[in-house]
């Protein structure tokens, strides 16, 4: 074997070795489930108990979290089947804290992250305000702080400066103290149930196990953790 052939074969082997790990890089396209702990927090909302025109949960959320006037962390939408003489029904919409969140996957600086208990949070000190997460979220859960605000109704919640993205965080400051999120507590009909999906004895786990709950756009495979009864 002469030197040229040796170099050619050697070069081919090196190139092959360099390309070999490439198929594994494809797995980077899927966000890893880093936060798979014992707790998996989620919510069930019973639409049969939701009263038309009621916005008590929305107002409680706004007050609890200092949500700017044009932004919504939790909102009540009205849905009506495309059918003659159909009726409007209310449906509270909030961040679904997905198990495979699109926002966490695309955040440039990993400001959006999934905590071990499954809550999707935003590190507001790191968020650069590029708004890509808002583009990819299929549920329109996120709002951008467009204006500087100085009015803070709740001193317990961190202030967010303008230029960052924010969303529902399951009132993490409350649940870390053992309380329920503000919306769950405020609902007079007890339409919202919050708890650990992994605890088979919890009310929420039993509701979901009954097979009567549905999520929004399950076809997108983001695996949302907000379920609806009566959807």
């Amino acid at each position: 074997m002469d030197r040229r052939t040796f170099l050619k074969i050697g070069g081919g082997l090196v190139l092959g070795a360099a390309i070999a790990p490439l198929p594994q890089l494809v797995s980077l396209l899927r966000a890893e489930d880093t936060a798979s702990g014992k707790t998996k927090l989620g919510m069930v909302i019973d639409l049969n108990k939701c009263k038309p025109g009621c916005t008590i949960c929305v107002d409680a959320c706004r007050k609890e979290n200092n949500v700017p006037p044009d932004n919504y962390w939790l909102r009540v939408a009205n849905i009506k089947p495309k059918f003659p003489n159909a009726q409007n029904r209310p449906i509270p919409l909030l961040c679904n804290h997905c198990e495979d969140p699109f926002c966490v996957k695309v955040c440039l600086v990993k400001a959006s992250f999934k905590r071990k208990d499954g809550i999707v949070l935003i590190d507001e000190h790191r968020c650069i305000g590029c708004r890509y997460c808002m583009i990819v979220c299929p549920y329109k859960s996120r709002s951008f702080v467009f204006k500087k605000t100085n009015k803070w109704t709740n001193p317990d919640v961190p202030k967010r400066m303008h230029g960052v993205v924010e969303k529902c965080n399951f009132c993490v400051h409350r649940i870390d103290k053992g309380l329920m999120p503000a919306c769950v507590d405020a609902c007079p009909e007890k339409a919202m149930v919050f708890g650990n999906l992994n605890n088979s004895q919890s009310e929420i786990a039993k509701l979901i196990a009954s097979g009567k709950t549905k999520t929004i756009r399950p076809d997108l495979s983001s695996k949302p953790k907000v379920y609806y009864l009566g959807l």
Binding site: N78, N88, C127, G129, I135, K140, K147
Partner: protein, 391 residues
């Protein structure tokens, strides 16, 4: 035949006047960015339904122009078309400037631009936008090394780095297209054709811009430019225009065919709104059909005047294409409940709205002025232009 590259004198009144005008425009742009930064993005036309507006359109447009310029600058060293060696340096320099302009537009659009360094410390491997940050910065380094190789006349280096530059330019612009194409939640974004269509539009807009700028630059500096070179470039231009057109047709036909994406595609194409106008008149008529006719017609295809005119049309048309990619996909609501009508105080289910605000326009003009200023000053500082460009 040796080509001699020299700096321009740059001492005429006209030159100083140009520099002054560009500086004023650039300052205006930076001031509007300052206002947006300190007071908040409510000063722009963006809102929670349309969080990405003109700054992002300008960013992807400039990246496209840059990638196209870089591929053109490599025509002689990589693709063997040695007659284009005369403007390899100018095109490569322009590519670097246009990407700097794009990054400027992107950074100034951030809610918290002072945190831009975070993007370099925290590469998120699952985020194509994050990968692009790495690709863009490496791209500028490659451009600088490429220019160095050309200035020091190292032919082997020029060929090697030129090849890397072409590959990198394609990666950069495919990555930019993937920012939109990978978004599975929005019907008007999700598409495997977006990366190749971005590359095609980059090549067509880059070629058109180079044609216009070369003619202007050589005319203003009173250097000879062989019309055959421009005619050669125009042949490339018409090929790129056809590829762009083909990809747009396929993409929209596919979307119209599938019931899941039909409503979104219909909104963009046939509902009679402003996006339809931009699509049909801006992109199809002005950006594709009229330039293609001019560049195929035997009476006009060899006339420099007509070539410049069609290049201007292409430059406008591709800007319209970038607009069509970014805005309608946000304006058309995400489908939360198929088969249901949705309404809410957060504009769920409603067609969004986006009006370009004056501040965004001033900022865009300012960024273009900065690119122009760096170009004009670069001609004076570096030996970018050949004394004459002959075929």
């Amino acid at each position: 035949m040796k080509i001699y590259f020299t700096k321009i004198e740059g001492k005429t009144i006209r030159f100083y006047l140009l520099v002054a005008v560009l500086t004023v425009l650039a300052s205006g742009g930076l001031y509007s960015s300052y206002l947006m930064y300190t007071k908040g993005h409510y000063l722009t036309g963006m809102n929670n339904q349309v969080p990405w507006g003109m700054p992002i359109v300008l960013t992807i447009y400039l990246i496209g122009l840059s990638a196209g310029s870089l591929v053109l600058s490599s025509l002689s060293s990589v693709f063997g078309q040695t007659e284009y060696k005369s403007f390899a340096r100018v095109a490569a320099y322009l590519a670097a400037l246009l990407l700097v302009g794009a990054l400027l537009s992107l950074s100034l659009d951030l809610g918290r631009p002072e945190r831009i360094t975070m993007a370099f410390f925290y590469l998120n491997p699952t985020s194509i936008f994050s990968w692009n940050g790495f690709l863009y910065s490496a791209y500028i380094v490659i451009c600088i090394v490429y220019l160095w190789a050309m200035f020091t006349e190292r032919a082997k280096w020029v060929k090697a780095i030129g090849t890397l530059a072409v590959v990198w330019a394609i990666c950069v612009h495919s990555g930019t297209g993937a920012i939109f194409g990978f978004v599975s939640g929005r019907e008007l974004y999700h598409s495997p054709l977006t990366p190749p269509s971005f590359v095609a539009a980059a090549l067509s807009s880059g070629t058109a811009l180079i044609i216009i700028l070369l003619l202007l630059t050589f005319k203003c500096t009173k250097r000879y430019l062989d019309p055959q070179l421009i005619i050669g470039l125009s042949r490339l231009l018409v090929a790129f225009i056809l590829v762009v057109f083909y990809l747009i047709v396929i993409e929209n036909l596919t979307r119209l065919y599938a019931p899941a994406t039909y409503e979104a595609a219909h909104f963009l194409l046939f509902s009679g709104n402003e996006y339809c106008l931009v699509f049909w008149i801006g992109l199809i008529l002005i950006g594709s059909i009229i330039p293609a006719i001019i560049l195929f017609n035997p009476k006009t295809k060899d006339s420099i005047g007509w070539i410049v005119f069609s290049s201007v049309l292409v430059v406008i048309g591709v800007l319209c294409e970038r607009f069509i990619i970014v805005i309608p996909g946000q304006v058309f609501p995400v489908e939360l409940f198929p088969g249901y009508e949705v309404s809410s105080p957060f504009m769920d289910g409603a067609i969004g709205s986006y009006l370009i605000s004056p501040l965004e326009v001033i900022q865009a003009v300012g960024i273009l002025a900065i690119v122009g200023l760096l170009y004009v000053l670069g001609l004076k500082l570096f030996a970018l232009l050949p004394t004459e460009a002959k075929k």
